[in-house]
Point group: C2
Chain length 237, copies 2
């Protein structure tokens, strides 16, 4: 199934419109035309199936709902990530969204050297990634003004981990116990390239984050983030 | 520790030379100069520490060996990957080398749409990735003329898996048992974007590959590859 995305949905008339970015994908790349059937999601748990009724000046589809999963999602898979080089951040968003991350927090901390607010670009990336992986949830992205603000925001999450190369607890030891709690919220913090300040680690521990090591080897921020998403995906499946 | 790489090592005189790519990194990016101390590896298990004796016309270092791990590596972490878009292949090589993959096979199969032999580019990427993650092994990359040729090449590997979205066995079920065999060779096959032909899956099964699913959702080839490397990394640590 080829999945498309729009949030311009008129529920009264069972009609949906697609923006130019999406129309391009549907008409040019996938070579659909008037009368053709398409599947699409609103990124909020609904799967629609419909028929293209118009392609100009705007792509319109008359639809019915064919599947619906709970919104908000029953469990949150969350990454908290220090800002990194924008191209690396983009790639990380794509890969981890495919793997099922549905909530991101990007924070600035003592040793972050970058700051970017590419919300509209990130929106395109997450849209493409949920379509690619046939997911019905568009991730939420929040920019946290600082590290402690981010820690407060996720204080209610049940399982909290901080990726730390120097931690004595290997992640493999905790993953098993998590598998039995596969419907509970999980958050992983991944540090920025420059690492954490000692006080930042203490603050995270005070907020009940457990430092775990993924590897004895130094991983780039986005590599650790994709690994964390892979591990959460393992628990969820 | 900042790690560099060279394989131009004169063992008789305990002298090493660095090519222009590496010299640039050492002198320009890391601002080293004559007399400074550097660490480097030959990518074959040796860690050297030395002092820069010359920077022009060529960067030379007088060294001693400070660490040595077995060569070839005691266990192989292998990925077999169908060709994908070159930029995505490059990125995959970088991430999975950081995560400890030390052997790659790139194969053409029925539904691969790409073929690239970027050996010299891949060499640069793996060099950068082992330096980044402080690893002493430079991965080997082999291009397999076809899928069955690749299967023959890895026939001696003990633990063989094929990533297949439709497989009934979730990977999580087998990872635990693997953890106790963390020093044995492992290979994961990741399909190309177009997936496998039915006969290719049968052939892999005939070669004792176990189909496992990473996710109910469709993952891009490079995403599945990075996940596989993350899972092997979990077992090895």
């Amino acid at each position: 199934m080829e999945l498309f995305f729009t949030n311009a949905i008129n529920t009264n008339q069972s009609e949906a419109e697609f923006d130019s970015f999406e129309s391009q994908h549907i008409l040019k790349t996938m070579r659909k035309s008037e009368g053709n059937s398409v599947h699409f999601t609103d990124g909020k748990g609904k799967l629609f199936q419909g028929r293209i009724t118009e392609t100009k000046p705007i792509l319109r589809v008359h639809y019915k709902i064919v599947n619906q999963v709970p919104w908000p999602p029953p469990s949150h898979s969350i990454l908290g990530i220090g800002f990194i080089r924008p191209s690396r951040l983009d790639y990380m968003i794509e890969k981890t969204t495919e793997l099922g991350i549905n909530k991101f927090y990007f924070y600035a901390s003592r040793y972050t050297n970058y700051f970017t607010d590419n919300t509209s670009r990130w929106d395109k990336i997450t849209r493409q990634a949920i379509k690619q992986s046939n997911r019905l949830y568009l991730p939420e992205i929040t920019i946290s003004p600082d590290f402690s603000n981010f820690l407060e925001a996720v204080s209610g999450v049940k399982h909290k981990f901080l990726a730390d190369q120097t931690a004595s607890k290997p992640l493999a030891d905790v993953l098993n116990s998590l598998r039995k709690k596969s419907d509970e919220d999980i958050v992983f913090i991944i540090g920025p390239e420059g690492g954490f300040d000692e006080n930042e680690i203490k603050l995270a521990q005070y907020h009940n984050f457990l430092p775990v090591s993924f590897s004895e080897n130094r991983l780039r921020t986005e590599t650790a983030a994709i690994s964390a998403a892979s591990y959460i995906n393992l628990i969820r499946n």
